[in-house]
Assembly symmetry: C2
């Protein structure tokens, strides 16, 4: 079976679009998520056109070979990890911006367009593509769509789903369909567009996206507020909300995150506070809103940066890339629980307790404006005997997050790594409906098997 589909792919596509070289397979076997089940693909295929994707899916369908789609491979839940006997279908070469229409305030792109490249292109027109995952400089719109990527400015501008108007999708059997519309509004038919967004390549292959653009803000104000402790900083998030100011960005960094930044940057952040809240207001009222924010946080005891602060701007950039070169592995796992906003303070306190109980390391950053936390738990690399402690801490952090009304994943996706936790959040009836949808779109189960949804437990 393996040989026959590879021959068929090689007969269908130019040589530079199919590879079975060991090093290439290895380089495309994993995304940045934790690895629990390392498998090699049987081949890597690069699509350069919609027709290529259709050809690949038709062959995969005929030969019953699984297909794992891949953009830049920056996902952190293992959604693009290879599975047994799969093809990896890379969309990264489909990287054309097909259209920018400033009056319609939309763009049409191929899936391999890098998020930052789209933003650079539309900025010329005073527009922006709002979703801004930390990986925006390298991640693709296709990957962002697959995971319904979030980012820093979601609380104000919404996540990926709220910016996607229409999708071109190649189904499991190679059929090309178009969902959605070019207009902002539309309620014709079920929301298939929204269903594909966040489905992690398990329902179809996104080969084109029509996205809504927003206005580049006339002004941006950045505030850095140091707090004595992380709980007060979290209370600051609620206080800004109570002042009815909607910042574009509201990021919380705990003390251990500051320690790490200091080590990397030679800065003295941790000396200045036990937690940092970074806030950007934007738009025509950026200054007015920033003034209110400063007042509110100052009243809570924060040390707030001056009105124009280059440092604050630099800190936001640092925060954007605070994952750095860090890759999750068996010794270090970044999490992604989102909780209702009022639970931020309590959940962070619980995380600290959990880390202490299990004697594991912990640092926390949060897109605090929408209650989305990224705690990272770790044990010393190489100390294999500590891995059960790490996993116990992770499990407990998920259980506590759910008990507070949260979700196991705010923006990273279920992928392969979090599949085991999904039944803790969603009941079997809800999982069954999703399995039904999966079976409808992908009757042979070839699209990214083992991801996004747990297997049915047979009685």
């Amino acid at each position: 079976m393996t040989d026959s589909i590879i021959s068929a792919l090689q007969a269908t596509l130019p040589a530079e679009q199919v590879s079975v070289r060991e090093d290439v397979l290895a380089a495309h076997a994993l995304d940045q998520g934790p690895v629990t089940d390392h498998k090699m693909p049987i081949a890597v295929v690069w699509a350069q056109s919609v027709e290529d994707v259709q050809s690949v899916m038709k062959l995969a369908h005929t030969h019953s070979v699984p297909v794992v789609c891949r953009g830049a491979g920056t996902g952190v839940s293992g959604g693009a990890h290879a599975t047994t006997g799969c093809l990896v279908l890379s969309l990264e070469r489909m990287d054309r911006i097909l259209e920018i229409h400033p009056e319609d305030e939309i763009a049409r792109v191929e899936p391999g367009v890098v998020n930052a490249d789209l933003n650079t292109a539309v900025a010329e027109y005073g527009l922006m593509y709002a979703p801004d995952p930390a990986s925006y400089k390298i991640s693709t719109i296709g990957g962002n769509v697959a995971t319904n990527a979030g980012g820093l400015r979601c609380a104000k501008y919404g996540v990926t789903r709220e910016s996607v108007l229409a999708l071109d999708v190649v189904l499991a059997d190679g059929t090309l369909i178009r969902t959605g519309r070019r207009s902002f509004k539309g309620v014709a038919g079920y929301d298939l567009t929204g269903l594909f967004v966040g489905s992690e390549g398990t329902l179809g292959v996104v080969v084109g996206a029509t996205v809504r653009l927003r206005y580049l803000p006339a002004d941006v104000q950045t505030i850095a507020a140091f707090f004595p402790e992380v709980t007060t900083a979290a209370a600051g998030v609620l206080a800004v909300g109570k002042a009815r100011v909607q910042p574009a960005i509201m990021e919380l960094l705990d003390g251990n995150t500051l320690v790490q930044l200091d080590a990397e940057q030679g800065s003295d952040l941790r000396q200045r506070g036990g937690a940092l809240l970074l806030i950007q207001t934007d738009g025509f009222a950026a200054e007015t809103e920033a003034k209110i924010v400063r007042q509110v946080l100052g009243d809570l005891g924060a040390t707030v940066t001056a009105e124009v602060s280059e440092e604050a701007v630099r800190l936001v950039e640092l925060r954007r890339h605070s994952r750095g070169a860090e890759m999750d592995d068996v010794f270090r796992v970044g999490e992604d629980v989102a909780v209702p906003r009022s639970q931020l303070v309590h959940y962070i306190a619980e995380l600290e307790r959990i880390a202490a109980d299990h004697e594991v390391g912990l640092k926390v950053v949060a897109h605090a404006g929408d209650g989305n936390l990224h705690p990272t738990f770790w044990v010393t690399a190489g100390e294999t005997e500590k891995i059960p402690l790490l996993n116990a801490a992770l499990d407990e952090s998920i259980e506590v997050g759910l008990a507070l009304g949260g979700t196991i994943t705010g923006e990273h996706g279920v992928g392969q790594y979090k599949v085991r936790w999904l039944p803790l959040e969603q009941r079997e009836e809800v999982l069954e409906l999703q399995r039904g949808i999966k079976a409808l779109f992908d009757p042979k189960g070839l699209l990214n098997p083992g991801k996004a949804l747990p297997e049915r437990i047979e009685a």
Copy 2:
């Protein structure tokens, strides 16, 4: 069959929750949409609890009786019209606001809560529920969810789907499920919440909704701008966009709409211009933005109201209720096409041509900020021989809207009336996927049959 389910319902529910009285059946047979197939329900059932809905659905499932859900009956696409032999299941008595959580910025409501009542209740906390269909004073959240209702302030704040975080849904067989989450963000599993929103009661019965609230704006500024003609007014919409100002409301009224308002109100609007653009800016920058809008529209030749204008505020209220007591019928049909913003000017010109060609009346109002137009076409009531002209004009308005990249329905829903047009917008493969989803959720086809999706055309 009819007798047996009615007996079963009467045995299960208190007497005041089941009616088979002719006048009651007649009063619940139609919503406000055009009537093409007038049918009477066999009974009207009022649910007072989730358990009631489960009982009704279990009985309907056992007896294979169709169920048409109904809120306030303010829909305008016939989505709540009775179908042959159906029960009408009214959710209007399930009208409790279950929770308002100001720190989480969410509310949990039963489906029968009236949109305006929710807004009144949350205003106390400085919050608002953003979706504001024209019917907001009488329509229910359940109905708003069923149609993914829009309204005036969607361009800035999004439609219903963007405000719904979680749903409690009773499935066709009576099973209760919960979709979504209480946190703002979350990507666990497929977006079943988004799938139920806008599905017009064809996939399940929404018995509870958790909605996101937004901040009541600190300030609101209202501008009325009279233009010599409707095309210039439409150009004004693009000019405001080009100034990168995002108003909360941007409503366009054509000359015939002004004539009608003058007749009803004794005003002189039509004398003052051939079209009116009503704009509200809101938030901390409302004044700054209003100033820019006045400048931009003045430069285009508009006569703009003074800085504080009671008249402008009153006109927005008038616009909100500009349908008045108007009910669509065979002589008068309100449409709901949405087009890409750049096509507004051109589409309005086309609508005028179509009305002239077919010798039918036309007035146009539009949620211009998101390209959503509500043209009303009419012939003189009673002139039955003119109905084919009216229908030809309607068909052509749809075809032209689609050719410009638009959709057959921006916010009203497909319901029963627009089912015939859906295949013009969506190809058979896309319709088939939706039929598959429908069959998965409702294998017996009992939930609102004949709505939202056209029947499969057998070969």
